[in-house]
């Protein structure tokens, strides 16, 4: 097991290197650069002067060197965990991320917990009531939810639930009210939760369908298995059979899904953050890409890559712990 983990950890290094090279290359090959973008196609400057300004700014940001040299410089910095300065904000990228990452993580962790809290029992229930009305109805409902694009749903929720025209139930933007600083802790918490309802809804509803289906399928497999039949034959109660015998065994695939769901949700929150004006990593990444803020793009990609790889590794380890039949020693 230990050798496996060490091996996996070592494998992460070339993978990450590959990711960064890809992202670096793609971001530089894409047309446009932060300087010409900021200067636009002209306007105030005359031609000769514009060229000077452009050159001076390229030098200021270190963009005048050849691309491979720029990558090398970046790589050397990254080994000291220095992500460089944001071109747009003129400040260390790490500072930006320190402010924004917690917001996105908060959003996604809440969404994550809700998805699991709803999907696990629902999956078990639909498996137990296989082919009955509840199973079919929930399948249809979940599938419909899954098909709704969150961009559209977000816009609709804001349009119908956040204004005096229809239902004035929720705030349309941001994470807290104007007067939030003046609030005591509990009212503040209430205010924050009130702001989180809609974005979290948008982040979760699609996950329900996916995870419920997985749990249901796993449960159905287990329920048909010999050991469940044996357990029933022993005369164990239905609850014990379902939870102790069937559920435990069907939980394994759900763990792996956890590793793939997290990156998908981080990507999804780019859209949600933009719709609900939430200043998280998603919005930062979106802006960085559109303004060609290379250092921020690289930092977001690297951090995202590390999170993903770590998630996959953790899933594999959790796999082995949850299911004693899986042993890495033989495969490695």
């Amino acid at each position: 097991m230990t050798t496996y983990i060490v091996r996996r950890l070592l494998l992460i290094i070339p993978t990450l290197l590959g990711i960064t090279i890809m992202v670096f290359a793609v971001s530089r090959v894409a047309p446009g650069d932060p300087v010409s973008l900021a200067m636009g196609p002209g306007g105030q400057l005359d031609a000769e002067r514009a060229a000077d300004v452009r050159e001076a700014r390229m030098r200021l940001y270190g963009l005048d060197k050849p691309v491979h040299v720029q990558y090398w410089v970046w790589l050397k910095r990254i080994t000291r965990l220095d992500f460089g300065d944001s071109i747009k904000y003129h400040r260390p990228v790490i500072e930006l991320i320190k402010v924004k990452l917690p917001i996105t993580l908060m959003l996604n962790i809440i969404a994550f917990v809700i998805i699991y809290a709803v999907s696990l029992p629902l999956g078990v229930l639909t498996a137990v009531k296989h082919k009955q009305f509840l199973d079919r109805a929930s399948s249809v409902a979940l599938f419909m939810l899954w098909s709704l694009p969150s961009m559209w749903v977000g816009q609709m929720l804001i349009g119908y639930l956040c204004g005096p025209t229809f239902f004035n139930w929720f705030p349309p933007a941001g994470l807290s009210s104007n007067y939030a600083e003046q609030l005591a802790f509990f009212p503040w918490l209430g205010d924050r939760l009130w702001h989180l309802v809609l974005p979290v809804t948008c982040l979760t509803y699609a996950g329900f369908a996916y995870l419920t289906k997985q749990v249901r399928a796993g449960m159905l497999d287990s329920l048909r298995a010999d050991y469940v039949r044996t357990a029933r034959a022993k005369g164990l109660s239905n609850t014990v059979v379902i939870f102790r015998h069937a559920f435990r065994n069907s939980v394994i695939p759900v763990i792996t899904i956890m590793a793939t769901l997290l990156p998908a949700m981080l990507a999804g929150s780019v859209i949600i953050e933009r719709i609900f004006s939430i200043p998280g990593m998603g919005l930062l990444a979106f802006e960085a890409v559109t303004t060609r803020d290379y250092n921020v793009v690289m930092a977001v990609a690297t951090i995202g890559g590390v999170l993903n790889l770590a998630g996959l590794l953790l899933a594999d380890i959790a796999y082995a712990i949850a299911d004693p039949r899986i042993s890495f020693e033989s495969t490695v």
């Binding site: 000077d52 001076a56 816009q155």
Partner: protein, 582 residues
């Protein structure tokens, strides 16, 4: 499970329970602390306001202070911005429009500024200012008793510091510094008077110099220019508001500068909230989260016709002289189609600009410009009428120019070249896409094929710079007075200049050059009127629209006036009974 592990589990749970209870208790405690703190802060605020009123009364008795904004003190103005500024230092190249909205006039002040109701300069920090008749000397004299928000008096050293910072090659302010390259040297007469000597006369120099946001030297003095480049927040100047805080991604808060040297605005705080979604922004306005919003054009048209909405909000539509640009379609004269003036004129007759105004822009107050100057400004010749929409005339002009459908395929051609052109627009901007579709339809009706090429902004600017388009549409920003040199002079065609359509007219060049050096306003504007007429005749662009600013503002604000130059939020106030924040 044996007995021992049961015991361990029990203690573990007990421990957890205790932790939860403790956490809960500490939360209640901090809750109580907060409330106590609020009570104390409230009391302090009340004490301060009492002090202020007594101070005001004293002020009244000691001398006449007639120069006051009307109305009650207090309340906040919450602006909704669709984007967050990158820096609060407007001289840095990384600043943008939201930077200027937030800081200029609020935190930083300049030597001179435009009058609200005339196209004339008035002193802000300067008491006296002048430009010599030959345009080579510019003189400023500072007012007495002016000081920054920390109480330090403003002297010519601060003016010099600001000027030298902007022109310092190490400072990331190259676009701004460009305005000052006609300056030869400055001459400090004393602490209050300064004179700038110019290399050559240029009519905008007074405005550029006078418009510098004066930065306090004792705060911003630097050794390494990079230290200034990295500045982003905590601006301090002499204006009526002082910076309070910037919650990244959420809001920027300015508080009234109680130490202000001039008459203080009544509103206590200005909050700039960032809402990236248009629909959400309108909802935030309607629920009272924000007070001031610049809506997308469609929403303005729809909402300003709604009686209920009008009862709650001012629907302001006004010409913001300092910021009104225009939208245009440019015809690349390096292409066989558009080198001919007749064809460009045909293009203008082909586009139904009234329909664009009424059905796409949906703004009946928008105007069809005839040239590049601010439509109500002194440089624009008001006697020039826009070319009408007349597809029949388009057909005639195209026939005249030799573009006829000789092979019967429905598309006009000349010398074997079919009239098919690529029209480049910025992708994702609904308005531009709609206009482009209308152009494509209109062209098809007269036998021209248009291939639409939408590009993301970064690609778009790259291609525009390299002239990789046949036709292009974009908007230029504007000012009360502008210099057409960068966009229209033939020297700006080469080397990625802004004359991207390749407009080359010797007469226009001569007029541009002469006008720049003419200090007499009337003579200069006469030259610009002539230049305006050449542009109108030559039609290097088809000018599509120029439009007034549109804003929604909560009705609790009173004394909201529209001036020749736009609005001035410093004169607004909220009557005491309607105040919302304290």
């Amino acid at each position: 499970m044996n007995g021992r592990s049961g015991l361990v589990t029990f203690f573990l749970f007990l421990f957890l329970l205790v932790m939860i209870v403790l956490q809960f208790l500490s939360m209640i405690q901090s809750d109580r602390l907060y409330e106590r703190l609020n009570v104390i802060l409230d009391r302090l605020a009340r004490m301060r306001s009492v002090n202020m009123t007594t101070a005001r009364e004293q002020g009244k008795s000691s001398g006449p202070q007639t120069d006051q904004y009307p109305g009650d003190e207090g309340d906040w103005l919450v602006w909704c911005l669709s984007g967050e500024p990158t820096t609060l230092y407007g001289i840095l190249t990384s600043s943008n429009w939201s930077t200027r909205w937030i800081v200029s006039g609020n935190i930083f002040e300049s030597l001179i500024t435009y009058e609200l109701d005339a196209f004339e300069y008035k002193g802000q920090l300067a008491d006296d200012f002048s430009i010599s008749e030959n345009g080579l000397e510019i003189y400023f004299k500072l007012k007495d008793d002016i000081h920054f928000s920390d109480g330090t008096p403003i002297t010519t050293d601060d003016v010099i510091f600001t000027y030298e910072t902007i022109t310092n090659p190490g400072i990331d302010a190259a676009s701004y510094a460009n305005y000052f390259r006609d300056i030869d040297h400055y001459e400090k007469i004393n602490d209050k008077e300064i004179k700038f000597h110019m290399k050559r006369p240029y009519f905008l120099s007074l405005g550029f110099l006078g418009g510098m946001p004066i930065h306090p030297r004792h705060i911003y003095e630097f050794e390494d220019p990079q230290d200034f480049n990295k500045r982003r927040t905590n601006p301090m100047g002499s204006g009526p508001y002082a910076f309070e805080k910037w919650d990244v991604g959420r809001q920027i808060v300015l508080t009234r500068n109680e130490n202000y040297w001039d008459k203080k605005p009544k509103t206590e705080k200005i909050v700039y909230k960032f809402i990236t979604n248009d629909i959400a922004a309108l909802q935030a306005l309607e629920t009272g989260d924000v007070d001031y919003l610049r809506p997308v054009p469609d929403l303005f048209t729809e909402k300003s016709q709604d009686e209920e909405f009008r009862k709650r909000f001012h629907c302001l539509s006004y010409w913001d002289a300092g910021n009104t640009g225009y939208f245009w379609i440019g015809w690349n004269q390096a292409r066989p189609f558009f080198a001919d003036r007749t064809v460009r004129l045909a293009m203008t007759h082909m586009v139904d600009r009234k329909a664009i105004r009424d059905y796409i822009l949906r703004n009946p107050e928008a105007k069809i410009p005839t040239g590049p100057f601010y439509i109500h400004g002194p440089q624009s010749d008001p006697s020039i009428e826009p070319w009408p929409y007349d597809p029949e005339r388009t057909r005639q002009l195209l026939d005249e120019a030799g573009w006829v459908d000789s092979d019967g395929d429905g598309i006009r051609d000349k010398d074997g070249v079919p009239f098919i052109f690529r029209y480049m627009i910025v992708s994702g901007v609904y308005l531009h896409e709609q206009i482009a579709k209308l152009v494509k339809d209109s062209a098809a009706q007269v036998g021209i094929e248009v291939i639409l090429e939408p590009f993301e902004w970064s690609v778009f600017s790259e291609r525009a710079k390299n002239r990789q388009f046949d036709a292009v549409s974009m908007a230029w920003g504007g000012n009360v007075e502008s210099d057409p040199y960068q966009i229209w002079h033939s020297s700006q065609i080469e080397g990625h200049g802004s004359n991207m359509v390749g407009f080359n007219n010797a007469q226009a060049d001569a007029l541009i050059e002469e006008a720049r050096q003419t200090m007499d306003k009337d003579k200069r504007n006469a030259l610009y009127h002539r230049f305006h007429r050449i542009i109108h005749q030559q039609q290097p662009y088809t000018f599509i629209y120029t439009r007034p600013e549109q804003r929604f503002l909560d009705k609790r604000f009173a004394n909201v006036k529209i001036h020749l130059l736009g609005t001035d939020m410093h004169e607004w106030h909220v009557p005491l009974e309607k105040q919302k924040y304290k």
